[in-house]
Amino acid sequence: MFDLNFISGVYVFLTYLAGVIFILGVALRIVVYARTPMPVKIPLTPAPLTPMGATGRVASEVLLFKSLYRANKPTWVAGYIFHISFFLLILLHFARHFVYHHPLPSWYQLFVNVGIICGILMVLSLFYLLLRRMIVDRVRIISLFSDYLILIILMMIAVAGLSLNFFISASALTKIDNRLDPFITDIAAFHPINIPSNPYFLVHYSLTLLLIAYIPFSKVMHFVGIFFSPTRYMTDNPQEERYYKPDAEDLSL
């Protein structure tokens, strides 16, 4: 059908598979969370009285991790650095698609350097979070296999990504760069072509696919669940406005 070498065939298949698992998995979760009724009002007070206020409250949790800041400052610092650097890296990877055109813009090296700094920060913050899990008694005792697994997958992705900048020659990197864009463009157009074959790149890419496919089954789903947490998104107005969900009655509060 398509003129692909064996290894590309496998990767193309895995890419589509991971994509489908991710999209369906996340969509299913969103639908389930959104459709499950909440029998009673349980905002954690003091809570905003208006939907606007409640939105602001959720935003302060999503953007600033307000509650974590109150709870534990060092964890907040490490957690915040990790999330920001990881988020920026995802953004930069998408942006790269629009930036990487010949001739390269004069600030391209700066663009790459920001990515490298984010990568290093991500590894360091993850390392701190991993050490904390292993050293602090209270955290060690609650840590599950999956908690270590996700930290290690993320660290490996970041290290593999950084290795592309540090462990291979500039010409090899350029070669990957030149072939990556068409690969992504064409796979998105459902007309796949061969994948860049550099092993460092393939490790980075494989781990990323693994992460993407694992997300719907993992605690990473907190990025969806945080928007559906009744203690945070609910308004404190049970007297002003009657809250009643008949389909949620007759069970637990």
Binding site: T36, P37, I141, D147, L251
Partner: protein, 496 residues
């Protein structure tokens, strides 16, 4: 059999709250008595644990997951960041890892993962999934009854995960398979039979109120009445029934009576709805909570009152404030000029501000006062018009009625308040050591203001807090009379 005082493990108070060494299972030695047949059946639960309970429990669990967004969400999204691990007073007191909020929740999540997630059913142990075994049920029965549903952990959780929701669901599942807790089920059954937690019948209640009227008359020379079941009164007052019988609660009831007397507002208590407390909430049962709550609004209708005022009780206020309108509203038969229901502190402070009643704060000059924010009022409700009114209104009322007031340490009051250690249906003697451990965090901060400011009175607006602290004060070596309600202060300060 109740333990002797010597058997209790009372910590030494230093004023410091230290994070203990973590030991798994160390507080498992104290368990609740199991619910008895009559009470369980009266509440609509199976009489006792029967063969096949595991399948039944999983069935109820599944139903809850599809009917409760919070539970559904909170089963999945915990990342075990550890933010909550040092926040629970029961962990700080016992050091048991299952009393860390996340540890407690994981007891349910293990079962959840086993039956309801692909990873759990495929990889079992590797995914930390466990079947609902008898051993697991034992852990549930132990640790979901060492939680006071105070929601301090939720305040610190980056996702707002509410352990109270999880605890309530666990209790609902256990009740649904016939494993109930004696204390709460007995009490709910009593309300169904007599109208209140203590089981006071109508005639006995009237007798008590007569005695109290006499007492007030002896103390003040005024003819202050405590009307009962009066049709057409303006206000139906619903206090926790402890206010009728227990000390120091009764002092607050005298305070309410004096406020109504002086304000000239006609009022009544009800023998049918003689209980503000709602233990249905503690066991997480929507049906029972609604049934208990309904009594109050039925009685408001029958007595043709204009407004409902709730006495000093923490979880009762949360249940009345949050659930009433949902479960038994709307209240268009009442006067919509008022918030329905109104908190007694809001009511009294309003009268003082309007100049309807006058208070003399110097009447409480013998007291150096601190105030404990009750968990369910602080984190589960609001008093008055603005968010945080649940903090300002009680404090304004104390300051109006007394001159010497000191706050407890920052970080342990208002939204960050520690629970008294006996909320959520664990105010029972068979778990006294758990209660002592649970009270330790708050007792340390109280000890601090006792030493530094000479505090000799702990003001409260919760019946459970009053009972618990009165008992804890004795066990920790203080005078139980140093504990009382805010309306006890009002009672002394009001100029009749």
């Amino acid at each position: 059999m109740a333990k002797t005082k010597a058997a209790y493990k009372v910590p030494i108070l230093t004023g410091e709250i230290k994070i203990p060494k973590v030991v798994s299972g160390i507080s498992a030695y104290e368990k609740m008595y199991q619910g008895e047949k009559d009470d369980m059946v009266a509440l609509g639960f199976p009489a006792s644990l029967e063969e096949g309970w595991e399948i039944k429990a999983v069935g109820i669990f599944k139903q809850l997951l599809s009917h409760n967004k919070a539970l559904r969400d909170y089963m999945d999204i915990c990342v075990r960041c550890g933010a909550c691990t040092d926040k629970c007073q029961f962990f700080l007191g016992t050091g048991d890892s299952n009393n860390m909020p996340v540890g407690r929740a994981e007891l349910m999540r293990k079962v959840y993962r086993y039956y309801f997630t692909p990873a759990g059913s495929l990889f079992k142990g590797l995914a930390d999934a466990e079947p609902f075994s008898e051993e697991m049920l034992k852990k549930w029965f132990t640790y979901y009854y060492q939680c006071s549903e105070c929601r301090r952990c939720s305040y610190y959780c980056p996702y707002g995960i509410d352990t109270a929701v999880i605890t309530m669901a666990a209790r609902e599942i256990m009740d649904g398979i016939g494993l109930g807790q004696k204390y709460s089920t007995v009490i709910i059954h009593k309300v169904f039979n007599t109208g209140n937690n203590i089981g006071i019948p109508q005639a006995a209640l009237r007798n008590t109120l007569d005695d109290l009227e006499e007492e007030i008359n002896e103390e003040t020379g005024k003819d202050v009445k405590i009307p009962m079941d009066v049709e057409g009164a303006e206000v139906l007052l619903v206090p926790p029934s402890a206010d009728f019988f227990a000390m120091p609660h009764m002092e607050s009831l005298k305070g309410y009576a004096k406020v109504f007397y002086k304000a000239g507002v006609s009022w009544t208590v009800s023998s049918y709805a003689s209980e503000a407390a709602n233990f249905g909430m503690f066991i997480g049962s929507y049906r029972n909570t609604k049934e208990l709550n309904k009594r109050i609004w039925d009685e408001a209708r029958r007595l043709k009152v204009k407004r409902v005022v709730v006495g000093e009780c923490g979880h009762a206020w949360r249940a009345m404030y949050n659930y009433s309108n949902t479960m038994n509203g709307p209240f268009d038969f009442l006067d919509n000029k008022y918030r329905q229901p109104t908190h007694i502190c809001d009511f009294t402070l309003g009268l003082i501000k309007d100049g309807v009643i006058k208070v003399d704060p110097s009447a409480n000059d013998d007291k150096i006062i601190t105030y404990h924010d009750s968990c369910n009022i602080a984190r589960g409700s609001r008093i008055g018009e603005i968010p945080g009114g649940q903090f300002t209104i009680p404090r304004e009322l104390i300051k109006a009625c007394a001159n010497n007031f000191y706050e407890l340490r920052n970080g342990t009051n208002k939204a960050e308040t520690y629970c008294c250690g006996a909320g959520g249906g664990i105010l029972t003697d068979e778990v006294m050591n758990v209660r002592i451990a649970g009270s330790m965090a708050k007792m340390q901060t109280i000890k601090e203001v006792m030493d530094n400011k000479g505090v000799n009175f702990l003001a409260l607006i919760c019946a459970i807090c009053k009972t618990q602290f009165a008992k804890m004060y004795q066990l920790y070596g203080f005078d139980a009379e140093m504990v009382g309600g805010i309306h006890q202060l009002v009672s002394s300060a009001i100029i009749l």
